[in-house]
Every structure is written in C-alpha cells, then in structure tokens.
C-alpha cells in the first residue's frame, strides 16, 4: 500500500487535486469542429460527385452551419485561453509536433473556405432572404465576387475533402497526444472523433433536408457511421484493458466509475444504439420520424465530448 500527501500546502487553483484547465468551451469547440468537418466533408463530396441537385441539403442548405459552428467554436476556444491578448502568437509560427498548432492553422484555412462555400449558394438557396435584403443590388462587387467563387467552387471542394478530414481527426488527436492523461492517450481517439463528427454532420443534414430520398441516403450513411463508431468505442475500451495500470484506472471512470451512466446511458445507448435501431426500423419500411434519431445522435456527440474532457483531466500518472 502506498499513500502520498502534500505537506507544503499544494492547493494550486485549477491544478489540485485534479486538473481543471479545460472547461466546457473546449468540449463545445471539439463538438462544433467535428460537426463542421462532417458537414463540409459531405458537401464537398456530393458536389464533386455532381449530386448537388439530388442532395440539396448536404451541398447547399446544411453548409450554412459550418461557418457559424466554426466561428462559435473559435470564440469558445479563445474564451478558454487565459492569456487571450496574445492569441496572435499562434500565427507567428507553425509547430509540427503540436496538435494545437495544426488546429489553429487548419481552422484559419477552413473557416474562410466554409464562408465562401455558403456565400456561393446564398442567392440560389436563400432567394427569399435576398429578395428582402437586396444585398446584391446594393453592393455591386458581390456579383463579380460571387461569379469568381462559383467558377472556383470545384477547387474549394477538392481542398475541403482533405481539410475537413484533418479537422475531424484533429479534434481527437488534440486529446490523444497527451501521454500524461491516460484516458486521452489512446490513438483510436482520432478516428473515433472523426467518425462521430461525420455522424453528427450526417444527422444535421437529415434534420435540414426536405427530400425523402436525401433523408434516406443520409440515414443509411449515419447508420454505417454509428456502427463504425461503436466498433471504435469497443476498440478504445479494449485498448485501455490492454494498457498499463494508469490506463486501467482511467477506464474505470467510464466502466463502473462515476461517468458510467453518462457514457453508457447517454452516449452509447441513447446516442448510438437507439438511433441506430430507429434508423434500421425506418429503412425496413416502418414510419419513424428521422428527426428523432438525428437529434439523439447530435446530443450524444456533444455529451461524449464533455465526458472525455471532464474525465480525462481526472486521470494522471501516480508515482
């Protein structure tokens, strides 16, 4: 038996007894980043496949979300910095070993691209709004700019495919790169967060789609992604089981410990299994409002990020 206690009064704020350095904004940021990555990936993919007419929600409508999500996410991130006046220091260097640095740069490229994408479909998809605002009549240069963006949309789409994947993976790698937090130090987190981001993206496309054909296709895609995600979660847990003592202890937080109900109840059951079942029932011909599983997937994805951020900071090396 080993016991350790601090005698010099180490009660450093946010450090002792366990880290509380990252709060809800980081969880929200990871969720929004993954969501934006998912939507942008599908938008670019179906645009390149020439399916923009068939799947208008994926290519045009849902893509209004990523610019908002990324801007909110960035705000949340900066809100959680404790020295925010120096944020520009992120862009004085690129540090290849730092996931944070990758994220900062990828966001700097993806965010404007997502704005351009939405802008290029604005007049087409939101003609009712434009007829009230008359932006293009008032600001003449918008017409030439729009033409320029539309002629280059293909290149934006080609750029968005790898960039959205990097963004989605990054939301997981950001955590898995921390060897010091055993719960996070699991390489499966990158693909897991990417899959979860794609799945929440597909769910959002379903939510905003008016075409039954599109909802069905994305219901199928989402079902596939949920199955992959479940497999990755099993992988993650097996990885901890095969790990060192600190990883076993970390896993106990999720399996049997204080986050068990949250994790298995809200993420695995209500966020993955039940929506998968509903989508399956729907595909076999029964009537299920696809909105229900879509909302469950989105909320499950959000809760998953919160659990990982909270629980990860409770885990550490004991020496």
């Amino acid at each position: 038996m080993q016991e350790e206690l601090f005698t010099s009064g180490r009660h450093i704020p946010n450090i002792d007894p366990s880290l509380q350095i990252w709060h809800w904004p980081i969880a929200l940021y990871l969720f929004l980043g993954g969501l934006a990555a998912g939507i942008l990936f599908f938008a670019a993919l179906f645009y390149i496949l020439g399916k923009e007419k068939e799947y208008p929600s994926a290519v045009k409508i849902a893509t209004t979300i990523p610019p908002i999500a990324l801007s909110l996410g960035l705000l949340a991130l900066v809100y959680d910095l404790t020295h925010p006046l120096y944020t520009w220091q992120l862009y004085t260097t690129f540090r290849i070993e730092s996931p944070m640095s990758w994220g900062a740069w990828v966001l700097l490229i993806v965010t404007p691209l997502s704005f351009l994408w939405t802008f290029s479909f604005y007049r087409e998809s939101f003609s009712n709004i434009e007829s009230k605002l008359n932006l293009f009549k008032r600001l003449k240069f918008l017409n030439t700019f729009e033409k320029f963006v539309i002629t280059n949309r293909k290149y934006i789409a080609y750029a968005l495919i790898p960039l959205s994947i990097i963004l989605g993976v990054y939301t997981g790698i950001l955590l898995s790169a921390f060897n010091a937090r055993p719960l996070w130090n699991n390489a499966i987190l990158g693909p897991l967060f990417l899959t979860s981001g794609l799945s929440t993206g597909a769910a959002t496309i379903i939510l905003l789609s008016k075409s039954i054909k599109e909802r069905h296709l994305f219901g199928k895609i989402d079902l596939g992604l949920i199955i992959i995600e479940l497999a990755l979660i099993i992988h993650m847990i097996m990885g901890y089981y095969a790990g060192s003592q600190v990883q076993l202890e970390a896993m106990e937080l999720l399996v049997g410990g204080e986050f068990t109900l949250m994790f298995f109840g809200f993420v695995v059951l209500l966020g993955l299994l039940v929506p998968a079942l509903l989508e399956l029932i729907e595909l076999t011909g029964y009537k299920v409002p696809v909105i229900v599983p879509a909302i469950m997937v989105i909320i499950g994805g959000l809760i998953f990020r919160f659990i990982m951020i909270e629980a990860g900071q409770l885990t550490r090396y004991l020496y």
Partner: protein, 177 residues
C-alpha cells in the same frame, strides 16, 4: 552542458525551506508554488517507510510540454532548462495537460509558469534558490555532462530514481534513495 538536480531523500526533513525560498526569489503569487514537498508512506504496519522529497519541474529531455506548445512559448535553452516566455504564451493550457508531474500552473496574470531552475541565477553563476537555502544540504545542482561534477559523482555512486520514468519524459531531477 546538461543541468540536473540531485535530491537526497534520506537527508530531506520536509521543512519546506526550498518552497519558501522559491516563492520569495521568484515572486510566486500567493497560493501557488513552483516546488513543493511530498511525503509518502509505503508498506504496511509495522514495516512502513516514510519518504520526504522536494518536487518541481523535472526539466525533461523529452519534454511533452515543449512539443505540444502551439506558439513556442515553452522552449528549451542551453543546459536543458525548460522555460516559458510569458509574452508568447496564450494560456491554452496544453502544456499543463501534457505534464505528467502537474508541475505547471496558470499564473493569475494568465500565462503559464513553473520552475525555471532559477535560470536568472544560473547565468550569474549562482545556484537555484532552493538548493542554496536547504538547511540539510540535501539538494545538489550541476552539470551532468561533466563526469567529475558533484551530481555526476552522486549518480555514479548512489542508488537513485526518477519520477514516473514510465511516462517516458526522461526527467532530470534525480532522487537518491
């Protein structure tokens, strides 16, 4: 040159002089500390062992805090000392999450702070404040690259350990046991 600290756990009495000396020398804000004492008891009665030691940033060779820093605020200088440049730090906390020893903290002014091995004293040829005040003289500081230095000799002749070597950071604060 590779600076290292060697601390004799058999001589440490846990008086916390090093903690106070550091707080005074480095203007550490109230309620925070860059070094601290741990007291660990192991074994089961009647065969129990008490170990006292002073801990701080280990100025790791394979420093995860430096690798994950997105701005380069955390960096390594000559002699292997890991430092933070306050006006390059954005306070993202990545380095705090990455340190297996929880050796860093957020300064109330926002940037991240930690033990510097008293770098400002080293450049003047002085010892770190904690080492210089220890009443039992249980702390040693010097150059590991020099085989004749006191620290090299101690590590050659005594049994020692480092903290959480399994974390793979290659720490450079050594504890004689």
């Amino acid at each position: 040159m590779r600076y290292a600290m060697v601390i004799d756990t058999l001589k440490c009495v846990g008086c916390s002089d090093c903690v106070v000396a550091c707080q005074t020398e480095n203007d550490v804000p109230h309620g925070y500390c860059r070094d601290w004492i741990t007291e660990s008891v192991s074994g089961s009665y009647p065969n129990v062992e008490l170990e006292l030691k002073s801990e701080r940033c280990n100025h790791c060779d394979n420093a995860p805090c430096v690798r994950c820093c997105p701005t380069g605020a955390s960096h390594i200088v000559e002699g292997g000392v890991v430092l933070v440049t306050a006006n390059e730090c954005i306070g993202c906390g990545a380095c705090i999450e990455s340190c297996p020893y929880d050796a860093r903290y957020q300064h109330p002014d926002g940037y991240v702070d930690k033990c510097t091995f008293c770098h400002h004293r080293l450049v003047k040829g002085q010892l770190p404040a904690c080492v210089s005040v220890c009443p039992t003289k249980c702390m040693y500081f010097g150059d590991l690259d020099n085989p004749n230095s006191e620290v090299s000799q101690l590590l050659k002749n005594r049994k020692y350990k480092t903290l959480a070597p399994e974390a793979g950071t290659n720490p450079h604060v050594f504890y004689l046991i």
